[in-house]
């Protein structure tokens, strides 16, 4: 059926990808290469090459602290999303069809709502006259409004809400692929609900857990808007640090070095998660 010149009818010519490949070469790969080159300039007028910008970042406790707190923020948000998101996905898979429709709307709507709008709602919730402070004051649990906005806890909860769909959707996919008989078999063999969960359900959904954690982690450490609006000026994370250096201070080489270090950190996390994912798929299929 397939001649030497034409691929089979079920395939299309790879050349169809060329226009987009061209766009990516010019406007994605080239800028990133340029970013790396600029990061090796020693001065803001960009005349000499050297490792000064990297030395400036990697030997500076303040910069390292910003990187560390950004990654740590990602870990906390991912953990919170997992603890709340896994039960939600577990319930979704077992819910009747009509409830699944509602739950899916609840999960997908935040994903499509503007990030500025979602973040704005947290300003309303956490503010001095917000719902939490007014409830606590009304119940007489506190005498004066608590400072909830511009705290790290506030950032973690807001980011967890903003990124939760990224955790729940892969988990739903993974959980709905698990053969229900396996859990029944585990119960029939005398394992309790908790034991079945930890020995059967959780290991079998590991690929989904890893995919969800990767997406949540990558999204929360780069979430510029939520970090800056809920965190305020007191907390500095990598995206804002990068933006300040490039736009406010016009220090392109240092901003480029921050970007490259941040890119490497994100790629490192992606590689680690992908490696774990391959291990997990091996376990889940064995």
């Amino acid at each position: 059926m397939s001649s030497a010149t034409h691929p089979p009818v079920t395939q299309y010519d790879l050349k169809l990808a060329l226009p987009l490949a061209g766009l990516f070469a010019l406007f994605f790969i080239a800028p990133l290469v340029l970013l790396i080159i600029v990061s090796f300039y020693t001065d803001t007028s960009m005349t000499r090459f050297g490792l000064d910008q990297y030395a400036r970042f990697l030997l500076d406790p303040f910069s390292l602290g910003v990187l560390g707190s950004t990654l740590w923020l990602g870990v906390k948000v991912t953990a919170l999303c997992f603890i709340l998101g896994f039960p939600l996905a577990w319930i979704y898979v077992r819910a009747p069809r009509w409830a699944q429709g509602i739950l899916m709307l609840v999960v997908v709507l935040p994903l499509l709502t503007s990030v500025v709008v979602r973040t704005f709602s947290w300003i309303v919730i956490l503010g001095r006259q917000g719902i939490i402070n007014n409830t606590l004051l009304g119940l007489g649990l506190i005498d004066a409004p608590l400072r909830l906005l511009y705290t790290e806890g506030g950032v973690v909860w807001a980011l967890a809400q903003v990124q939760m769909p990224l955790m729940v959707l892969p988990l739903i996919t993974a959980l709905s692929r698990i053969e229900p008989n396996l859990e029944d078999a585990s119960a029939a063999l005398g394992a309790g609900a908790w034991r079945t969960f930890f020995r059967v359900t959780l290991p079998l959904s590991l690929p989904g857990i890893i995919a969800g954690c990767l997406l949540t982690f990558a999204a929360s450490i780069t979430a510029f808007i939520t970090q800056s609006l809920v965190g305020g000026g007191r907390m500095l994370f990598m995206p804002m640090y990068l933006y300040q250096q490039s736009s406010t201070l016009n220090n392109w080489p240092f901003a480029a070095a921050i970007s490259v270090i941040f890119l490497i950190a994100v790629l490192g996390a992606v590689t680690l998660f992908n490696f774990l994912g391959r291990l997990a798929r091996g376990t889940a299929e064995a």
Binding site: F28, V116, N134, Q161, F262
Partner: protein
């Protein structure tokens, strides 16, 4: 199944899962509800619950020309971005989806990589490139930047739709004498259309909502809605923003319900 009248393990397990799931649902819904309620306030503050209700902040939107201007810019850029993302993305998906070549796999990873890379770093990199080659910032540079970060959504859903396509249909069409183009137009395209639409919808929404790339690639003439809102929020807590948010949430819900009917959106973004 279980004969014992009271199974403490099963009970406590279900209780914990139920409570955590309920907490998750509350966390997901509450912010949207709070914004919608606060947008109907009659006061000048974002106090919750509002002291009284009115439509005054929605009426105020009629005079908020800065926000209207930014919203129109965001809409045009998102529209162009979506058109480009569909044309380039669907062609690329057809090329890579069933190809056994290793280059197809490499291209796939490259096309998807804007999804995980920090978009702010890409925005800065793109600004550097445009200033190096001497292109001044314009809607064109903005649309190019947006297309790069939004095209992965179209590719993801289109490749998934192509992977589910039954090849027997294509082979029978060909064996009945249909040309490749006729088969594409009459068989392939109608079957993958929901996938393309779902991806295009997400690409549009994410372009409309994009901050990190726009932050570097826009100027005063191309003020974008999310950035305008962000800057308004940094400065003062303006209740007009609550009305904008309420309107955006309403539009998003309508679009979501329509797209769910048309394309089964929620199955395609998992």
């Amino acid at each position: 199944m279980n004969g014992r009248p009271l199974d403490f393990g099963a009970f406590s397990f279900r209780l914990v899962m139920g409570l955590l799931g309920l907490a998750a649902v509350t966390l997901l819904i509450m912010p949207t509800l709070v914004v919608v309620i606060v947008s109907f306030t009659n006061s000048f503050s974002l106090r919750f619950p509002p002291p009284g209700y009115s439509l005054r902040w929605y009426a105020a939107l009629g005079d908020a020309w800065q926000l209207q201007f930014a919203a129109w810019n965001s809409f045009t850029v998102a529209l162009w971005t979506t058109v480009l993302a569909i044309i380039l993305g669907v062609a690329a998906s057809l090329g890579i989806a069933r190809s056994p070549k290793w280059t197809a796999k490499v291209l796939d990873s490259v096309f998807m990589s804007p999804l995980v890379l920090p978009a702010l770093a890409y925005g800065l990199a793109a600004l550097m490139l445009f200033s190096l080659v001497g292109w001044s910032i314009s809607p064109v540079t903005l649309i190019i930047g947006h297309t790069v970060v939004c095209v992965p959504y179209v590719i993801r859903t289109t490749v998934a739709a192509l992977a589910q396509l039954d090849t027997v249909l294509l082979e029978s069409s060909a064996s009945l004498g249909a040309s490749r183009f006729y088969t594409f137009r009459r068989i392939t395209l109608p079957l993958i259309r929901p996938g393309i639409l779902a991806g295009a919808f997400i690409a549009f929404m994410s372009s409309f909502d994009n901050v990190p790339v726009s932050l570097f690639l826009r100027d005063a003439r191309t003020d974008m809605l999310p950035i305008r809102m962000w800057q308004d929020l940094e400065g003062k807590l303006d209740v007009t923003i609550a009305a904008v948010s309420g309107a955006m949430i309403a539009l998003t819900i309508v679009a979501l319900v329509v797209m769910e009917r048309l394309t089964g959106l929620s199955r395609r973004i998992r």
